[in-house]
Amino acid sequence: MTTTFRIDAGEIRRQFPFFQPHPEMRSVVYLDNAATTQKPYAVIEAVSNFWAHHNANVHRGGHGAGARASEMYEAARTRVAQFLNAREPAEIVFTRGTTEAINLVASSWGEAFIRAGDEIIVTEMEHHANLLPWMRLAEKQGAQLKVWRITDDGRLNLDELDRLLTERTRLVAVSHISNVLGTVNPVGEICRRAHAAGALCLVDAAQSVAHMPVDVQAIDCDFLAFSGHKAYGPTGIGVLYARRALLEATPPYHVGGGMVQTVRWERLVWAEPPAKFEAGTPPIGEAIGLHAALDFIDSIGREAIEQYEHELTQYALSRLQEVPDLRLYGPAPDRASIFAFTLGDIHPHDIATVLDTRDVAIRSGLHCAHPLGERLGGSTARASLAIYNDAQHIDALIDALHETRRVFGKTRA
């Protein structure tokens, strides 16, 4: 392997405690980044610093610590707005994650604006997070769910979208990057076509924000969701971006403390967005951790990350081809660094177990995308990369796959 990358993954791993020696833990080649990424010291320290020295509730206290906590929490919101190139921080709603963000849109916006006979378009490659809220909404409202099928090589055909869009279409819900196929969907063009038909567009960016530049104004989406923990940040924090006018028109999600202006027995006035959608004490430390995670990502640079991971992806594709009976799903070579595959008739769960004993961590199963799994013919094994992975990790994966074939008697000993 002679390719030299501009990014030194070893140097980046030094910023992560997970990759440092630990007396009770074996060192692993971590290739399950589509499930969750590891956390750099900077994130852990930001969270810890908040809990240790600045802990107070936000937007409530009549004291300095409360004011400081509010400042830190709102600074995180401003940072997210800048990261996504939103027009203003008020377009950023903090949620528990991508799942809650999409549920918020389906429940609050959907129940207010989707009527019987309306149509919602979802793609066949969606994760349950961007599928079940729409299935339930359609059922509840008597709306029609239309499925945008994928091509055999795991892409979306835009002509097919044009065929599905009608004047009754209210929403197109699409992932930016498939969590199974690694397909990078042309979300800007999808939004353009949805808008031309009078529909809105929601982008599930859970698999993209940590891996490529994501600009909500350039994409021109109406809603966009992502999770902190897949972007080097904490669990329990996620983001819903929506245009301000949409947030203003949308009724609240949860109701309770902090999201209301006036409460009288005869009258309720909701707070302005984003507070309107943040009932109860929010995940303050987690939002502050997310702020640090976005700083970490931008300290490397999203163009550099995208280029590095693209080069690593090309190396992975070439090496995966060497493994007999390995079938890779999704498009190639133009794809993200998520690789779902099968290995002859060896069940993916067995692959993952053998790899685990070789200290290579991957995932197997249906990846919370059962309809897609059905289309692909069942479970798959999945390796997914992040900025701290390098060519040696791919080599370890390939060696372990050969070992798996030996265990299951696919080669002569």
């Binding site: 069940h347 993916p348 769960h349 067995d350 177990t353 053998v354 685990d356 004993t357 070789r358 197997s364 199963g365 249906l366 059962h370 799994g373 069942g378 479970s379 265990v407 299951f408 008697g409």
Partner: protein
Amino acid sequence: MMPLNELYQEIILDHYRQPRGRGELEPPKITQEGFNPSCGDEIILDLRVRDGRIEAVRFHGRGCSISQASASMLTEAVQGKTLAEAHALIQQVLGLVKGETDGDIDSLGDLAALAGVRQFPVRVKCATLAWHTLEEALKQVS
């Protein structure tokens, strides 16, 4: 390194490659489906119970080596058993796989190989799927 050869013992791989009791029964029968949503493993058990005894048992479905081998062993083990014996065997196997009891390993025959799963906590569900499915199936016996 974890003891891979304890998980993938030759007995397990043999049941996986050449499953016993694979197929479906003609009616009358009890059919019970078991599914693990996280990995997609699926076991469908067909039982014929007569006079309080499991007269015939077959399975089909799809899944990993452990789930399918466990189902294959199950069909051999419960064939001809009374319902009370089957219930006792279910508890014995579940205890063995989860590492709660060693039970009477010698009496278990091929099933003893399932004890190797203990050291692989993420695989326990694979080994127990068929047995939980049988547990559900027996609830259908009036």
